[in-house]
């Protein structure tokens, strides 16, 4: 089990290193770091001096090592566009995105699980079929359209909820939260629902198909042959076995919540990292792009580690010391 955890950690470190390398390559080769600082019309001599000063003449491994060391200390360079440290830009916007993503993931997981189990159990029921069809529509609906639709209903027609921004936020140290004010909470509703929607349909369909798969296994048949009530079979035997693959995939999906936040934040003018990233892509602000990539990489790695831990809790076969993780 310790070996299993260690392996996960090593893997996480390797992934992070690879992501950092990609970010470094972007930083170094896309766009012109010197032109971005001194402008296009600097003399050749100025450029050479600056190049030496910035260490751009050093061997690649040295530059990469320096990049890593700087990143580890929170120095992610200057934004070409805004001239401010990238780390500060990210830091300002981080709470907005984290708050949005966590609430969405929670909503998606709770509702997705419930509906998935329901549609699997009432496989041929009318409501289950309606939910399944609706989920297919949900998968086909682009996230931004769902957001726009919600804005139309709740902001334009009903005038219940604000259509953009975070509302009033409360500062807690370096963190800001919208959960403590009414306008903040109201502002969260539509972005959270929009962001959760896709993950929700995905989790629901996954839970359903896994559950149906498990319901066909011999041990469920054997449980039925022992007269175990359906309710117990569904929620004890089937659901827990369903959870093993569902947790893995949901874990991976949690990462994509961050990515889908890009779209949601743009729709609702949400002052988060995703909107910042889109702006940086539009104007090719490479340091911001590279830093965002590293941030997403970090989120993925952390979520993966957590997923592995949950996995250990769910499946006793992994916990036995000798057993290799069978995935």
């Amino acid at each position: 089990m310790i070996a299993y955890l260690l392996r996960s950690l090593v893997q996480a470190a390797l992934v992070m290193l690879a992501v950092a390398f990609i970010a470094f390559s972007m930083f170094r080769f896309v766009g012109d770091p010197i032109a971005s600082i001194v402008g296009q019309d600097a003399t050749l001599k100025d450029r050479q001096e600056l190049s030496r000063a910035l260490g751009l003449d050093d061997p690649m491994p040295v530059q990469f090592a320096r990049f890593l060391a700087n990143a580890a200390q929170g120095d992610l360079g200057l934004s070409y566009r805004q001239g401010r440290p990238v780390a500060a830009l990210l830091g300002e916007r981080l709470p907005a995105t984290i708050e949005l993503a966590l609430l969405s993931a929670l909503l998606a997981l709770v509702v997705g699980l419930t509906l998935g189990v329901y549609t699997a159990i009432r496989r041929n029921g009318l409501l289950a079929n309606v939910i399944m069809s609706a989920s297919l529509v949900g998968v086909s609906l682009p996230t931004f359209l769902i957001g726009i639709g919600l804005i139309y209903i709740f902001s334009v027609e009903l005038r219940w909820l604000p259509s953009f921004g975070r509302g009033d936020v409360v500062r807690l140290g370096w963190w800001t939260t919208g959960l403590l004010t009414e306008s903040g909470r109201k502002s969260l509703v539509m972005p959270v629902v929009t962001l959760a929607f896709f993950q929700l349909t995905l989790i629901m369909r996954l839970v359903r198909s896994e559950m149906l798969e498990v319901m066909r296994t011999e041990y469920v048949r054997f449980a039925r042959a022992r007269g175990i009530p359906d309710r117990v079979i569904h929620f004890r035997h089937a659901l827990r076995n369903t959870m093993v693959p569902v947790v893995t995939i949901t874990g991976l999906q949690l990462g994509s919540v961050i990515a889908f936040a890009i779209v949601t934040e743009t729709v609702f003018n949400w002052p988060g990292l995703g909107a910042l990233f889109v702006q940086s892509v539009q104007v090719v602000d490479v340091p911001v792009m590279a830093a965002y990539l590293m941030f997403v990489g970090l989120v993925f790695v952390v979520v993966n580690l957590l997923t592995d831990l949950v996995y250990l809790m769910l499946d006793p076969r992994l916990r036995s010391a000798s057993a290799a993780p069978a995935r």
Binding site: Y219, F222, R224, R226, I228, V232, N241, D315
Partner: protein, 344 residues
């Protein structure tokens, strides 16, 4: 004989497919008495397992019970509500599946699975159910049951897991146990242990056992009576000694010929039946065996043979129809053991 524990009459099971209705079980009748072991043999697809599933009420759509009766201790159970049938399962009928590796839920301790089953059918407290679970594990021959009860299925060997499965089937002291190929997935060395365990439990508790298998050796060793199935019907049923040593139905003869027995003299040739069992979608009219039968005549492809009582056997074959004067003439290919059987 007193009232049988299980009585199946004219059972029919169908599967509805887009190519039409397939008859998986077509008019099967048999009884099992208290403490008796009925072996059910046949090739795969002959309907052995489906019969077991039908008795315990686990035929899933698109399959359905299309007719007939199943009586348990005199009470009809094939028309019970799902909830009433659930209470019969596990309580009055236990079932043992083929593969102990997949029969147990890998995520729960064996004790949890036992206690859950015990508490489903009894009013025992948690502690009481656990005590009973340990007794059951001990009874099925698991060493150190008070320790092993907290193990997960993957910590048990195949044979030990099958013992756990049997313990689970025994939780509520059922009147009938359906064992569906209980030894097929096990090592040969373990098979004999499991079979003798089943026999012992049947004897001690007076449990009727329906033993579904394709292994004639297991049947010969364990069963009191045996039913030979072919294409969803019972070709022959009778006491195990008679059916094994002097089979009447041409198919049963072929099947028995395929196992070498100790008493048989070595120059007896092994009878091979040419061809294979028809698919469910292409069961020929009349007797389903007639295309492969060395004795078949025109009547066999026309009339469906009804079971005929012949000595202690019931056999579904026109050869034994006393009312058909031509039947005897077709018997000529028969080899010696049959004559003995008829004579006795």
């Amino acid at each position: 004989m007193s009232e049988p524990v299980l009585s199946v009459r004219d059972l029919r099971v169908e599967f509805v497919t887009r190519r039409g209705i397939l008859k998986a079980i077509d008019g099967v009748s048999f009884d099992i008495a208290k403490g008796e072991v009925l072996g059910v043999v046949g090739e795969s697809g002959a309907g052995k397992s489906v019969t077991g599933s039908a008795v315990i009420g686990l035929i899933d759509p698109p399959g359905r019970i299309a007719g007939g009766e199943v009586r348990l201790g005199g009470q009809r159970i094939d028309n019970l509500s799902p909830e009433a049938m659930r209470r019969v399962r596990g309580k009055r009928i236990g079932m043992i599946f083929q593969d102990p590796l997949t029969s147990l839920n890998p995520l729960y301790r064996v004790g949890e699975q036992l206690v859950e089953t015990i508490q489903t059918h009894t009013n025992l407290s948690n502690a009481g159910a656990r005590k009973r679970a340990i007794e059951l594990l001990a009874e099925v021959g698991i060493p150190a049951p008070e320790r092993r009860i907290d193990g997960y299925p993957h910590e048990f060997s195949g044979g030990m897991r099958q013992r756990v499965v049997i313990a689970l089937a025994l939780c509520a002291e059922p009147e009938l146990i359906i064992a569906d190929e209980p030894t097929t997935a096990l090592d040969v060395s373990v098979q004999a242990q499991i079979i003798s365990l089943l026999k012992r439990l049947g004897r001690e508790h007076g449990t009727a056992i329906m033993l579904v298998t394709h292994d004639m050796g297991v049947i010969a060793e364990t069963a009191d009576r045996v039913a030979v199935m072919y294409s969803g019907r019972i070709a022959e049923i009778g006491p195990v000694r008679q059916v094994v040593q002097t089979p009447l139905h041409p198919y049963a003869k072929g099947l028995m010929g395929a196992i070498p027995t100790l008493v048989q003299s070595s120059d007896d040739r092994l009878v091979q039946i040419p061809g294979s069992m028809p698919r469910l979608s292409a069961i020929p009219p009349g007797c389903p065996f007639h295309p492969r039968c060395p004795h078949a005549w025109d009547r066999c492809s026309r009339d469906r043979p009804d079971p005929i009582q012949h000595a202690e056997h019931r056999v579904a074959c026109h050869l034994y129809d006393a009312n058909d004067p031509t039947a005897k003439a077709h018997m000529i290919h028969t080899h010696a053991p049959l004559e003995e059987g008829v004579a006795s």
